[in-house]
Symmetry: C2
């Protein structure tokens, strides 16, 4: 191996290390967001969550900081390493992934806050929590799936997250119909019913963000922008390969 | 001027032209999104909008395609021109701006669809449209402001959009309180009341996206990540300069 090759290899190894750092940063951030969501769902299902909001607030700061740091690392690696092709695509896409992760964290924070306010509501509305928590678990599943898909660059796992998102949308529609029923039966439940409805809406949005991340993973692996493609189109493309 | 300088200048001019193309692409896309929002608000206020959904759907395709194209142009300019400092920051930030623009277009599409469904609702709920359209006009104002701010890299105009977002949030709270009142008084209005509530929620999210774009403009100009900074912190920073 001549000097030049050795140097190229050295630079390429450095690059790999930096890329790996960014990728593991995304997964660490994803883990924090997962905990934020788990905390929010716990708050919905439990009566004792006095300290929860403090934890949620602290964790949100951490998540926000990670987003800023990872974005900065992405810009740095572009300037210093001039990545091309799949590497550049990965870097540019990661910047979007962290933005979706940050927004999932945001929705989780809102759920936790609203859960604190919902404490002590009447039993009828409370029953709706179970449905909502179920939708929340689907969102957790979707988030777990896209993080796994990102970690292993696994398109099939990413596509599985599309299904989770659909299930969440269906769960949301069920919750909404049931809530309308309760509210019409007893208009005194309207105000707290809307609180539950907003929680369900935020969970639905978590599913949307998870789907965006799934699309990002597909984009990284397939080298194709699939954000506006249907699942059928993506699957057809995969079968061609 | 020696050959090398001449060549450098040529490359730099080419770069300027490409950057200008991307920037004007963003503004064209912004104009489309503005029209999408205007169409949606028109649908809310009018009785005749038979062809509206066709127009909205066609325009959405155009908006989506512009997002994909601009993202591609950004990746191309990074590979070919290796921009640094403010140029790189601009390119990376633009990719986020178009993602927020695309989502504003999405919300507008949802509003237009729901508006079509709301046709023929009872007068009581219909009165709420005026409030909602008012909130929508604030969102239009916010969008117009951030596009101007982006066009002229004007931090003050960007900051003005923060205020619009706050006004939208207040308008949303008013709508929500009034709707709860109507729904409690007459439970038959619950279902259509929720339709209006969702429309208001989508308008509120347009305000959020406009604020994200405002933050992006501040970030481009000030070279600082201000996504998680308060308006006071940004203003203090501006006064230091």
């Amino acid at each position: 191996m001549n000097m030049e090759n050795a140097q190229t290899e050295h630079i390429s190894k450095q690059f790999d290390v930096e890329m790996e750092n960014i990728r593991s940063g995304v997964l660490t951030m994803g883990g924090l967001v997962e905990r934020q969501l788990a905390g929010a769902l716990h708050a919905l299902g439990s009566e004792e969550n006095i300290d929860l909001l403090t934890v949620v607030k602290a964790r949100e700061k951490e998540i926000n900081q990670m987003q800023v740091d990872i974005d900065h690392q992405c810009a740095q690696i572009i300037v210093r390493r001039q990545p091309a092709a799949i590497d550049l695509r990965t870097v540019l896409t990661i910047s979007k992934v962290v933005s979706d992760l940050e927004r999932i964290g945001d929705e989780a924070k809102k759920i936790a806050r609203r859960a604190a306010r919902l404490q002590g509501n009447d039993r009828l509305i409370k029953m709706q929590y179970f449905e909502t928590i179920h939708a929340g678990e689907l969102a957790q599943q979707a988030l777990g799936r896209v993080l796994n898909a990102f970690a292993r660059l696994d398109v099939n796992e990413a596509i599985a997250a599309y299904d989770s998102d659909e299930e969440i949308d269906i769960a949301f529609d069920v919750i909404m119909r049931q809530l309308i029923g309760f509210m019409m039966e007893d208009p005194r439940t309207i105000s707290s019913g809307l609180d539950v409805l907003f929680v369900a809406k935020w969970i639905e949005r978590i599913g949307d963000h998870a789907k965006n991340i799934a699309e990002a993973v597909v984009q990284i692996v397939m080298g194709k922008d699939v954000r506006h493609a249907s699942l059928e189109e993506i699957k057809a493309e995969l079968e061609q390969d």
